[in-house]
């Protein structure tokens, strides 16, 4: 177990390295990172890993149970489920990460503005958030799919446009309580600008709940995307994507369970992994958490 707390000059460990080391010490987080790492690698090297073209059909070999040749079996059109799951990681991960990235960023900025910018701005943003929350998001998805045509990018846009208010609410609450803190006042006394304070003080302290929300959200987003395709607005066939694979497997839920089983498992693993990572990041960034492993 590494011992030294870095002192100035005595160690060449940079801040990032230090945090990284901290993070790696959290075993679950490490497992999560490894799982995500593997999935990301699968996504990047999908063409090398997948034994078949994910869109290649073989109607004569449809609905085959898992075998050596088709480790996850084949689907209703005789496509190799393993290859589809591997390629599907690209789409699913991009949707999850992009949407959460965009909404977390956007929602956070608006939340900061709302919480820090004074009553007028706050009222305007919060009422807008209320409107967005009360507005059925399917209408928005419908318009976007209609105006831009269906497809991955548009699913991302549609979901992003509807998901941000949660972050805004959260961050606003944090900002409101944070800006009353004395250390913020101290920073103002030092001459820090508002943007500096928002960035360095408020955001840093609000990051825990944002991270927790975001990691939970990645899974929700992938599922929402599938739900959109349930309503005819989502990702277009034959694009392999976990959510739509689950959806397409529904008619075969009882006769060929493996069609939904494997994308389902992958989805679950991803969710688990992101949550582990989220917990890990939170613990790493939070100076108070020191893993209580008994040394004795």
């Amino acid at each position: 177990m590494p011992q030294s707390i870095p002192g100035s000059g005595t160690t060449d460990m940079t801040e990032t390295n230090f945090l990284l080391a901290e993070f790696c010490r959290n075993r679950l987080a490490l497992i999560g990172a490894v799982i995500i790492g593997i999935i990301v690698l699968c996504a990047i090297f999908a063409p090398l890993i997948a034994p078949f073209d994910p869109a290649e059909q073989n109607l004569r070999e449809r609905l085959q149970t898992p075998s050596i040749q088709h480790p996850f079996g084949t689907d209703d059109l005789g496509r190799d489920i393993f290859s589809r799951v591997v390629f599907g990681s690209r789409i699913s991960l991009s949707i999850g990460i992009c949407v959460v990235g965009i909404t977390a960023l956007f929602g956070t900025i608006l939340g900061l503005l709302s919480g820090y910018g004074g009553r007028a701005i706050d009222e305007v943003i919060m009422r807008f958030v209320d409107i967005m929350l009360a507005f059925p998001s399917i209408i928005l998805a419908l318009i976007i799919a209609g105006l831009l045509g269906p497809g991955v990018v548009n699913v991302i846009i549609a979901l992003s446009l509807t998901q941000w208010p949660a972050y805004t609410r959260l961050v606003r609450g944090m900002t409101l309580s944070m800006k009353e803190k004395e250390f913020v006042e101290a920073a103002r006394a030092l001459g820090a600008s508002d943007t500096y304070i928002l960035r360095k003080h408020i955001l840093l302290n609000a990051s825990n709940p944002i991270i927790v929300l975001a990691t939970m959200d990645i899974a929700q987003t992938i599922i929402f995307a599938a739900a959109l395709s349930f309503l005819g607005l989502g990702i277009q066939p034959p694009t392999p994507e976990w959510g739509s694979m689950l959806k397409a497997g529904i008619p075969y839920l009882r006769s060929a369970t493996y069609i939904t089983f494997f994308p389902g498992i992958l989805l679950m693993l991803t969710v688990l992994a992101f949550n582990f990572i989220g917990d890990g990041i939170r613990d790493t960034l939070d100076p108070h958490t020191k893993e209580m492993t008994l040394v004795k």
Binding site: A55, E56, Q57, L59, R60, R62, D76, L77, G78, L142, A145, G146, G149, P150, S229, L231, G232, L233, Q236, P237, P238, A248, I250, P251, Y252, L253, R254, S255
Partner: protein, 492 residues
């Protein structure tokens, strides 16, 4: 009968259907599965039997003195509506009045007037000759009682002459019908029929298996074989009038070129499609537009068989060539990529599979296909704008045995993307003659033309599937889709 209470000896049939009955007035179209319910309450002047043969309905006979320009229907005597109102010519005149949606619809806009000649004789005057009895078999165009509405014209409740009378309707949940003791025909065998609304197909199937419903309509193909092998469940299947087809946009490249359309027809193996993804349910159409159960369907039509080599050759001839390691053909630097639109709706599940299969067949011959599953509005928009290559559709005909297209026809359907004067002329001629031999001849010509000019490529003649459990005996399935045949059913 007291509807709320069912004694042990009472015959109650519970049916699971996919949509609610949107409304009961004849001012609007009863969309979705509502027509299955309508067909128990309301009846038509002319009927079809389970094999689509014409037979008398509320009219015992009909004739046309002038080759289809004027039609006289002679009503059955002694028939009364559920509320005791007698069925007479006035009721028929009321049912087909100018404000009924029947008169506004494309197919029957040709009716000029409807008059009562005497108590039991109705006269339909047409704007042009038309085989009206065939049209009037449509369950959505029935005879309704004038007492359905009050004196202010406000709708009260559905009143027809059918074997079952309307009892109650709980929106989005169920419709309850009770036996019509005064039914003019063979006495109905059930005391009560309950239609339950279960939108999700998988749930419907499981509700049948648990016995919560005794009969389900619209069984998904993927469950069909399994259900057939499930003890205690009987699956009834019959080829219906519905056919799935690929409608081409013949006005723009590449499908403005007949060779490219044909290349599609040669590339696709509709037999394999029906054998595999549809689990052997339905008949491979191989281009044949009219389902074999239809009147005038030509059994000897020269059909397409899959021939990828020929398909490739046709594409080459049309100038779409492959070079190097390309997988998609090109012409003048443009790739051979087209979109196929699929609607979101009851057919979506099978259509998406079929579209994906088509995608694979076509990519084998070097054509790229982009599947777009769309909500109706979006599909509608692309269709009106002509911004598509193909549309995968189902249906297409006037219900009943009578094969009148209304979507290819350029002069009738506003969004048709097929313009062929000859086709329109023959179609109109076939629709205006009352002479059956002449009609047959003209419809045979039309079928040849569809095969030849390929405005659309017909894939699968669908089968209607109804599953029942052991409680039910004596069910006979019909060919016609919106009609549910409950005659002679008994519940154990």
């Amino acid at each position: 009968t007291d509807a709320g209470q069912t004694g042990p000896s009472e015959q109650v049939l519970t049916i699971g259907m996919s949509t609610d009955v949107p409304l009961w007035q004849n001012s609007n179209f009863p969309g979705g599965d509502g027509r299955f319910v309508w067909s128990q309450i309301y009846e038509t002047l002319v009927r079809v039997d389970t094999d689509l043969n014409i037979e008398p309905g509320l009219a015992t006979s009909w004739d046309t003195p002038d080759d289809g320009k004027t039609w006289f229907f002679y009503l059955r005597d002694g028939v009364i509506f559920h509320d005791g109102t007698p069925l007479n010519a006035d009721a028929v005149v009321y049912s087909y009045n100018e404000n009924s949606y029947v008169r506004a619809q494309g197919a029957l806009q040709t009716i000029a007037s409807v008059e009562a000649v005497d108590d039991l004789t109705v006269k339909f005057v047409m704007k042009r000759p038309q085989p009206l009895p065939l049209y009037l078999t449509h369950v959505a165009w029935p005879v309704v009682s004038p007492t359905c509405v009050d004196s202010n014209g406000n709708f009260i409740k559905p009143i027809g002459t059918g074997p079952y009378a309307f009892e109650s309707h709980t929106k989005a949940q169920q419709v309850v019908l009770t036996k019509n003791e005064n039914y003019w025909g063979t006495a109905p065998t059930l005391d009560m029929v309950i239609f339950k609304v279960i939108p999700e197909a998988s749930t419907r199937v499981m509700a049948l298996e648990t016995g919560e419903v005794d009969m389900i309509i619209k069984v998904p193909e993927s469950d069909c074989i399994r259900l057939e092998n499930t003890p205690g469940i009987t699956v009834s299947r019959k080829v219906s009038t519905f056919t799935d087809f690929l409608q081409f946009n013949t006005k723009t490249s590449p499908f403005d070129d007949i060779r490219v359309r044909k290349a599609v027809a040669y590339a696709i193996d509709t037999e394999e499609m029906s054998e595999t993804i549809l689990e052997g349910i339905g008949i491979a159409a191989r281009g044949r537009p009219y389902s074999p159960v239809m009147l005038y369907s030509n059994p000897d039509l020269a059909l397409y068989s899959q021939d990828p080599a020929k398909s490739r050759q046709l594409l080459e001839e049309a100038g779409w060539t492959l070079s190097g390691t390309d997988t998609i053909r090109k012409k003048d630097g443009r790739e051979l990529k087209v979109s196929i639109l699929v609607g979101r709706g009851v057919w979506a599940a099978r259509h998406i599979q079929m579209a994906e299969a088509a995608q694979s067949y076509l990519s084998d011959v070097g054509m790229g296909l982009e599947v777009k599953v769309l909500e109706d509005g979006a599909l509608n928009q692309l269709e009106s704008a002509g911004d598509f290559g193909m549309i995968l559709r189902s249906g297409y005909f006037v219900w009943g045995p009578y094969p009148r297209h209304f979507w290819l026809h350029s002069s009738q359907y506003p969004n048709s993307h097929y313009q062929n004067e000859e086709y329109d002329r023959i179609a109109t001629a076939a629709d205006t003659t009352g002479d059956e031999t002449r009609q047959k001849e003209l419809y045979y010509q039309l079928q040849d033309m569809v095969i030849e000019d390929l405005p659309a490529f017909y894939l699968i003649h669908e089968e209607k599937i109804v599953a029942t459990n052991d409680h039910i005996q004596g069910y006979t399935i019909t060919s016609e889709d919106p009609w549910l045949n409950l005659a002679g059913i008994t519940v154990r």
